[in-house]
């Protein structure tokens, strides 16, 4: 069994229901996220559009976080999930430095590394990850990549010319796919990040959009 994720970005409408469901299910502390939806505005007025990209751990086949962890706190489960043992983690942050997707953070409460586990605890009870259940448009598709009859395998087969992963050049072989993604959605260097205009980035120290009032 090899569990994987696919997000159809054409369906995602940026409601952030998955973000909230993940936060609640996994009791993710304030200021940290296992899953988040990034908004990127593209074009110049009036020809503009907004893209929404859910970002989470890619559960790579060749995971740099698993390789760099000195105590095997990050480890593979039999179903392919890259799981984390927070009791074993020493908080060296090597995994945070190694992950090319910025998917790992240091939990401010436990002072250990944490990340999306594809809701391994729910999967073990034959339930879908919380974000999949919460998505109102079924943009999140989760299943066994080794099973050709699974929904995710069928979706990949049906969209073969339009399936992408983030940063394929890193050689990590992510088990997290996107359909209808583009350079702007998947490449962080393809979009500009103006200081002070991100909703959750140190909002107390930044001015609101539009400058002084």
């Amino acid at each position: 069994m090899q569990l994987g994720f696919l997000v159809d970005l054409h369906l995602c409408m940026g409601c952030k229901g998955c973000e909230i469901a993940c936060k609640v299910e996994n009791e993710v502390p304030l200021s940290t996220w296992r899953l988040r939806v990034k908004y990127v505005d593209v074009g110049t007025f009036p020809e503009t559009k907004r893209t929404f990209t859910p970002l989470r751990c890619n559960h790579c086949e060749n995971a740099p976080c698993e390789r760099i962890c000195p105590v095997s706190a990050l480890h593979y489960l039999d179903n392919g999930i890259v799981n984390i043992d927070k009791e074993r983690c020493i908080g060296c942050a090597g995994c945070v430095m190694a992950c090319p997707y910025g998917a790992i953070y240091i939990d401010p409460q436990t002072q250990t590394a944490d990340k999306c586990t594809y809701c391994a605890h729910r999967v073990a009870s034959s339930m879908m990850p919380a974000c999949v259940v919460a998505c109102p448009v079924q943009a999140n598709i989760f299943g066994d990549l080794d099973d050709p009859t699974s929904n995710i395998s069928k979706y990949i087969q049906a969209n073969q010319s339009n399936v992408q992963v983030r940063k394929p050049e890193k050689g990590t072989n992510p088990h997290h796919y996107y359909v209808n993604g583009g350079n702007v959605s998947l490449n962080p260097l393809a979009s500009f990040r103006p200081e002070g205009h991100d909703l959750f980035g140190k909002i107390t120290s930044k001015m609101p959009v539009g400058g002084h009032h």
Binding site: R36, M97, G102
Partner: protein, 300 residues
């Protein structure tokens, strides 16, 4: 962002996202690398000097072992301080994952510290014959101890700037630079002028080679990868680390090279010591900049 070209049709702006994690490995890791360079470098230099000028450096066995012992302890202390769960440090020795450079480094550094402790004891007992045998093994072990951080940086797949061949060369050069600079200051009047000249040559050449590698990355790195171009952008123009980068290059490499030439011409020991002090301070700045800039890049 340097790598992003803004065109009307493709103009893309992140309008909603969480804060970037920011600096994950802070200045504590800079001190870690800097202290390790000194701790291993003085062992390299003592090994060399004992073979080239045994009479001149025979009294440096104990001071060198003590300096190496102190700086390797500083290195280990700051490594420990950087952990978010320092009291779980023992997990590394019990649940070791051998794919990790951190695990290898922890074992090798611990063994190295053990050898240094033995060197201090043997030097105190004036058992020079055994000391020199242990010094040989300490010198051999000092090589992987100083290199493992390069392996660790190379395992950081997210940080394209840190490539193993360049980083391993920089780690060895940093150890030679820091070791020779420390021995110039430590040796004082105990060292012969020939020994000082040799240390000056090691310091100057390691500074020159390290500078060439940094400049190669600075000039050509951006031509190979988008991520490196974006990271190098932080030390170019009005980048946040431009001033600190050039301050480090001048202090660690350019000025020491110049002062070593001047000291040879004028036969001035004071100028040589000034070069050594500048190299040690500059090395910390250089290491810090190279540690920080890849961490400024958004990963998603």
């Amino acid at each position: 962002m340097a790598a992003h070209e803004i065109l009307a049709a493709t103009n893309a702006v992140v309008t909603l996202d969480v804060g970037i994690p920011g600096i994950v490995w802070p200045w504590l890791v800079t001190v870690n690398m800097w202290a390790k360079s000194i701790g291993t470098g003085v062992i390299f230099m003592l090994f060399m000097l004992l073979r080239m000028y045994p009479d001149s450096v025979k009294n440096l066995r104990l001071p060198t072992a003590i300096v190496a012992f102190i700086f390797i302890n500083i290195f280990l202390l700051f490594t420990l301080a950087d952990l978010h769960q320092p009291f779980r440090m023992w997990h590394i020795f019990v649940y070791s994952s051998w794919s990790s450079a951190i695990a290898w480094g922890s074992f090798m550094a611990s063994a190295f510290l053990g050898l240094l402790t033995l060197l201090v004891f043997l030097a105190y007992k004036k058992n020079n014959e055994t000391y020199d045998k242990v010094l040989l093994w300490s010198t051999i072990l000092a090589i992987p101890v100083t290199l493992y951080t390069a392996a660790l940086m190379a395992q950081c797949t997210a940080r394209e700037l840190w490539q193993m061949p360049a980083e391993s060369a920089q780690m060895i050069l940093a150890a030679l630079l820091a070791g020779s600079a420390t021995m110039i200051l430590l040796g004082g009047n105990k060292l012969s002028s020939e020994a000082k000249n040799t240390l000056g040559v090691v310091l100057g050449l390691s500074a020159l080679m390290a500078f060439i590698i940094y400049m190669s990355e600075y000039i050509f790195g951006a031509m190979k990868a988008e991520e490196i171009a974006a990271v190098i952008g932080y030390i170019k123009g009005d980048g946040p680390y431009t001033v600190m980068f050039w301050l480090g290059q001048w202090m660690a490499y350019l000025l020491p090279m110049l002062f070593i030439l001047l000291s040879r011409v004028s036969k001035s020991e004071s100028i040589l010591k000034l070069a050594a002090i500048l190299a040690l301070v500059g090395l910390a700045i250089v290491k810090h900049v190279w540690l920080m800039i890849p961490q400024l890049l958004p990963m998603s």
